[in-house]
């Protein structure tokens, strides 16, 4: 028995040595993708993964990423954060320390992106979150960037839009108290609404995973609110809206949402109940320029569904990385040095033209971009552009 064990260990050791002596393939760059592949919002993770793969394929098909005269193939390492904060941190750690990626793309939902960003900042690996809008993802973290706008802008836009569009003074919010992003948006909406002279008559919460909102919605109906802000994701919104319709809340109250609503699955899960509702998001497909239209067409041909803003932003994040690599100029092969070079390259980006707009990172790593308000039409299965709000401050 002991002889067999010793023999087994020798074989394993040899295979390990032989493996590391294998001739090196074409020069590769490892790009980590931290996505919500399972859990409550798998469509977000799928969009992120698909867009990243599409971008990587495009770059590799053109011969690879050219830096300092040398061509590198992009290899994606995809990790599933299960839409849980602790798994997001674990996935980030694995990508950085075990897989030794050059850059970390993801996570998407802010409750996952914030722990991942702490890890990336600690371990000094550049990170771009495509979709996370909560300010805390990049705040005081020089290694972390994002491809989108932040909630102190978005939630403010929602408050102003709700007030102006529906001539409302009484507002209400229903949000998930267990999620960083939703919590922040709820509070910021309240702050802005009150600053603009309105009154918040109902400020209701629920916990992550709750399915029954009838108590909170009945309370909101009773309060006489004219606008109800629901900063939740596409998997909870259909339940909330359906229950609100059933209880007669939507007769007097207009429900508005944020970018978490945007997903091809929203209409699939919500159906006609969601028709006519508004939400803010990163792009509007019907006013998109030529570059965006080309991306949408290619994505649809390849994956069979329309891309949502997660896909567009991830695609932009990948190309932001490409631009950063070009700004960097040369990869030395020393991972720590290269990561720093990429990070500096990201900070140096000016007026990058992506499919979701033109962007320049701020000092904190956020992008100043416009917010688009769209109207839901589930009969046609599209979100129609309604209004664009230029960047401004609400603080």
């Amino acid at each position: 028995m002991r002889k067999k064990l010793i023999l087994l260990m020798i074989v394993l050791a040899l295979s390990g040595i032989l493996h590391s002596c294998a001739p090196a393939g074409p020069a590769e760059i490892l790009v980590g993708v931290n996505a919500e592949l399972t859990g409550a919002i798998p469509m977000v993770g799928a969009a992120c993964k698909n867009a990243a793969e599409m971008a990587a394929e495009e770059i590799n098909a053109a011969g690879g990423l050219e830096i300092g005269g040398k061509k590198y193939k992009i290899k994606l390492v995809i990790a599933d954060n299960e839409n849980k904060p602790e798994s997001a941190a674990a996935a980030a750690t694995k990508l950085i320390t075990q897989d030794k990626v050059l850059i970390h793309i993801g996570a998407n939902a802010s409750k996952n992106a914030i722990p991942a960003s702490s890890v990336c900042n600690e371990l000094q690996c550049p990170m771009i979150s495509p979709w996370s809008t909560n300010p805390n993802t990049t705040l005081y973290k020089p290694w972390v960037f994002r491809a989108c706008f932040i909630d102190s802008f978005q939630a403010g836009v929602n408050a102003q839009f709700g007030m102006e569009e529906f001539n409302a003074t009484k507002g209400a919010v229903l949000f998930d108290i267990g999620s960083d992003a939703c919590y922040y948006q709820g509070f910021f909406f309240k702050k802005t609404w009150e600053k603009l002279g309105g009154q918040i008559v109902a400020f209701e919460t629920f916990t992550t995973g709750d399915k029954d909102f009838t108590a909170q919605l009945t309370k909101i109906k009773e309060s006489g609110a004219e606008v109800l802000y629901v900063p939740q994701y596409y998997d909870e919104v259909p339940l909330i809206v359906k229950q609100a319709n059933r209880l007669g809340v939507t007769e007097k109250t207009h429900i508005i949402g944020h970018d978490g609503w945007e997903s091809p699955d929203l209409c699939k899960l919500c159906g006609a109940d969601c028709n006519g509702l508004y939400f803010t998001t990163h792009w509007a497909v019907d006013i998109a320029g030529a570059k965006t239209q080309a991306f949408i067409k290619k994505y649809k041909e390849k994956y069979g569904v329309d891309p949502d803003s997660v896909a567009g932003l991830t695609y932009d994040a990948m190309y932001l990385f490409v631009q950063a690599a070009k700004n960097c100029g040369k990869l030395t092969g020393n991972l720590a040095q290269d990561r720093k070079c990429i990070r500096d390259g990201l900070a140096a980006i000016k007026d990058f033209e992506g499919v979701t707009g033109t962007m320049t990172p701020t000092e904190q790593g956020d992008m100043i971009k416009s917010v688009h308000i769209v109207k839901i039409d589930c009969d046609a299965g599209v979100f129609r552009w309604y209004k664009t709000v230029q960047p401004k401050t609400f603080e």
């Binding site: 919460t205 629920f206 399915k211 009838t214 009945t218 309370k219 998997d235 209880l247 899960l269």
Partner: protein, 302 residues
Amino acid sequence: MTYILQQLINAIQLGSIYALIALGYSMVYGVLRFINFAHGDIFMVGAFLSYFAAVLIRRLAGATAIPTALIFVGSMLLAMLGTALIALSIERIAYRPLRRYRLSVVITALGMGVFLEHMTLVIVGPWRISFHPLITETVYKVAGVSISTTQLVIIFVSILLMLILEFIVRQTKQGMAMRAISYDREAVPLMGVNVDHIVTLTFAIASCLAAAGGLLYAHAYPIIEPYMGIMVGWKAFISAVVGGIGVIRGAMLGGYILGFVEIAAGAIFPSRMRDLISFVVLMIVLLAKPTGIFGLPLRQKV
């Protein structure tokens, strides 16, 4: 007043579903003296099976239009059958061999729960499934209160199932055997009753109720996913304990109590304290009556 009535209707609907699942916990405890922690996930499997059954029935019907009531009943029966088969196989494979080792069975139950969740995740995928309601939804407005057909069906079907269960337990020989086992385990085999058969029957009935609960829950909250059974399972377990674990009437009462307490806590207090307050209330009930409201007093044989 309309506000209170509306919240009352909400509470009865929520309570009915909790009651159906709590019954499963209580019945299994009564017969086997162990908490089947996988029961919440059996409920989840029931919800998925009813979805697939509805799809199957529609596909078999093809072009012919079947009244939705028939599809509803049909998918409920098919889901009950499928869920019962799964629950019985779990009982046979995982619980029966370990019947003598109480702690091991509890751990196994937890494990089976996780197994069911992940098995469903693997088979169905992570995508949320939208459950197309089998009931044409009309909202009635009675004295300012909105009641939908879905809520009426949920309440009506739950009460009907509970009445059927009461009949089985009180009026049939097998039901009598179930009650007998929960009183005195050792004496029952001496009376010529095959305990294994009764245990099998209990599991079957418990999982049928869970499957029905799954179908009704999927109508109330039409998005189903593999982890939906966890929270509902825990809440149903707690309502079974509050009502008196092992007692069928207790499980029914406990379910409604939890439904009422949850809705009341959400309606009266700021909603972020809802879960906190509901469980504090339940803890107070247990402190006052440790074996639950209808609970059997703990007896020790001398």
